[in-house]
Amino acid sequence: MVPLRRLDERLAGLAEISDEALLAACGVGDSAALGALFDRYHEAVYRLVSRLIRSESYEIDDLVQTTFLEAWRAAKKYSARGSVKSFLFGIAANTVRHYVRSAKRRRDAYADWPAPLPGGSPDEAAQRAQELKRLAAALEELPHDLRTAYVLCDLEELPGVEAARVLGIRAGTLWRRLHEARRALREAIDPTGGAR
């Protein structure tokens, strides 16, 4: 009745397996590996998707599920030139792009977002809340390509070279988009130029 040692080793092995090995296992149809990959990266993909598009929760769920399903389908195409996280982010960004193009839908610009937890004095908290609100609205107003560049590079801290590759654009194009996005967002946060 006592479990054999090999079972413990298997479980430990599954927990310690690398991202690349998990993706390779997905490529041969191991759905447990897909589940493990989901467990590791679902929060990051949720964060990316919900910052790329403001939408209902069930639509975000659909986009996240589509991302992982596409990763499952395309697992064999993974070239290991970038990280698995970049691979997933690239799929997520493209999935959202297709969704935005086809659906052409827009939601209220972050109007119902909960206020962030304030810190510091009440005045500072109020100011930061205002800045966040303006930033959220400005992010929503950004063209999708610029928003994608900003979210991938600045918020998710994907290396520029990898971000350009997963988006299928040249590095120069990415940097230009990122520059334009940052400029627009800075102006939105502080229209008087105080933030520059």
């Binding site: 079972l7 069930y58 940052r182």
Partner: protein
């Protein structure tokens, strides 16, 4: 990087995002794994086939262009053909669109008012057909009718096949799986949620494997139940009841001795198509396999509290399925049914068989904890400890924490 850029990045990272709660995450995870089992990963051979197909398509396109250039102009055929057959009165307010996606087509019937009946045949992989309102989305195969008032879903009735409903009620998202003959009304479920008391915390015991007296609010409340489920009217009683995603395993923070109810785990949703012909459209539906039939029957019995009969059906599903993942799940739930039936000895044997034959199952941790509890309750703390320790390495942090809580609750080894 300048200070401005740093400040902008720092501020941007504070932007809230749509963080899923445990139940929502589990629902997406389960749905993903079910979809993955129906979708094979692409292979190199397929890529070559695709490349060959691309050349062939290019040649055909060139030939078609030549024909178009030299032939008289004719009306162009629609690029994307709709799958759904829609039957709606003139007063209905709806919009029907078909758009291209990365995987195929996305067909949306946006209904704002009226009673709309839609028939959907089985579509190829990557294609989707959905009905949407402001608060809900319905996706299924077969024939179903949707009643919408003021852009809000009032009712869904499935006459053939099955449908999945995602609806937001009082700010909470619910998932409902309906099969042929069932009607669902979100407002009734909302009332039930308000009246349902939360399940109390319990001390760890073998009773953890027994059915909860009342369903917890949330996604679970939206499950289609065989007969006794509020909010779901069985027009035609049927055993084809879709199962909900896994119930979450939570770890109490206040007391390490309290452990979650790991044996309340429930199977991922399984769609059960109908077998009769459609009136509205000739939609082809797939006959469920013996494993699926036994599993669904066993699941319905388990939900109905008939644990002995459920164990028999689930055992039959496990025996019929071989290495099928559904059969593996059936083996696990057979053990759960046996525990509920009070047959702990047989449950132990089934759990050991499950753990031995399913080295990669996602339910290993839960099964190990359940087995450990059975062993502990009959005094074999040494073996129980070993199983709890094995579950500590589960990939799911909640399971690992639950195993640790069980270990902490045991007396220290001599």
């Amino acid at each position: 990087m300048s200070d401005d850029a740093d400040r902008l990045r720092e501020l941007g990272k504070q932007l809230p995002f749509d963080r899923p709660d445990h139940e929502r995450r589990e629902a997406v995870r389960s749905s993903l794994l079910v979809a993955a089992t129906q979708t094979e990963p692409s292979t190199a051979r397929k890529r070559w086939l695709l490349a060959g197909g691309g050349f062939a398509a290019g040649a055909l396109a060139a030939a078609a262009i030549a024909v178009v250039v030299v032939s008289p102009r004719e009306p162009a055929a629609p690029i994307r053909e709709a799958h759904a057959r829609i039957d709606a009165p003139p007063t209905a307010n709806l919009e029907h669109t078909v758009t291209a996606t990365t995987t195929g087509t996305d067909e949306v019937v946006r209904v704002r008012a009226g009673v709309v009946r839609v028939a959907v045949p089985e579509v190829k992989r990557g294609d989707r057909v959905r009905m949407q309102t402001a608060d809900a989305e319905i996706e299924g195969t077969g024939a179903y009718e949707v009643a919408v008032v003021d852009d809000r879903l009032e009712r869904v009735t499935v006459s053939e096949g099955s449908a999945r409903v995602k609806v937001r009620v009082q700010g909470e998202q619910q998932h409902v799986f309906l099969s042929a003959g069932q009607t669902w009304r979100p407002k009734i479920v909302t009332a039930d949620i308000a009246l349902t008391p939360p399940a109390p915390d319990r001390e760890p015991s073998s009773d953890d494997a027994r059915p909860a007296p009342a369903d917890k609010p949330g996604v679970d409340d939206a499950r289609p139940a065989p007969a006794d489920k509020p909010g779901v009217d069985d027009v035609k009683p049927t055993k084809q009841v879709a199962a909900p995603p896994s119930a979450p395993t939570t770890v109490p923070k206040s007391s390490p001795a309290r452990v979650p109810d790991v044996s309340s785990t429930e199977p991922e949703p399984v769609r059960m198509p109908a077998v009769t012909t459609l009136d509205v459209a000739k939609a082809s539906v797939k006959q469920p396999s013996p494993t699926e039939q036994h599993f669904q029957a066993g699941w319905a019995l388990l939900r109905a509290g008939k644990a002995h009969e459920a164990a028999v059906e689930l055992g039959a599903a496990a025996d019929a399925g071989g290495d099928d993942p559904l059969a593996t799940d059936a083996r696990y739930f057979q053990a759960v049914a046996l525990v509920r039936a009070g047959d702990g000895n047989q449950a132990e044997r089934v759990l050991v068989a499950f753990l031995d034959r399913a080295p990669h199952s996602l339910r290993r941790g839960r099964a190990a904890i359940l087995l450990g509890k059975l062993l502990r309750d009959r005094g074999d703390t040494k073996s129980a400890r070993a199983w709890f320790e094995s579950a500590q390495t589960d990939a799911d942090p909640a399971i690992a924490a639950a195993a640790k809580a069980h270990l902490d609750a045991l007396a220290p080894p001599r």
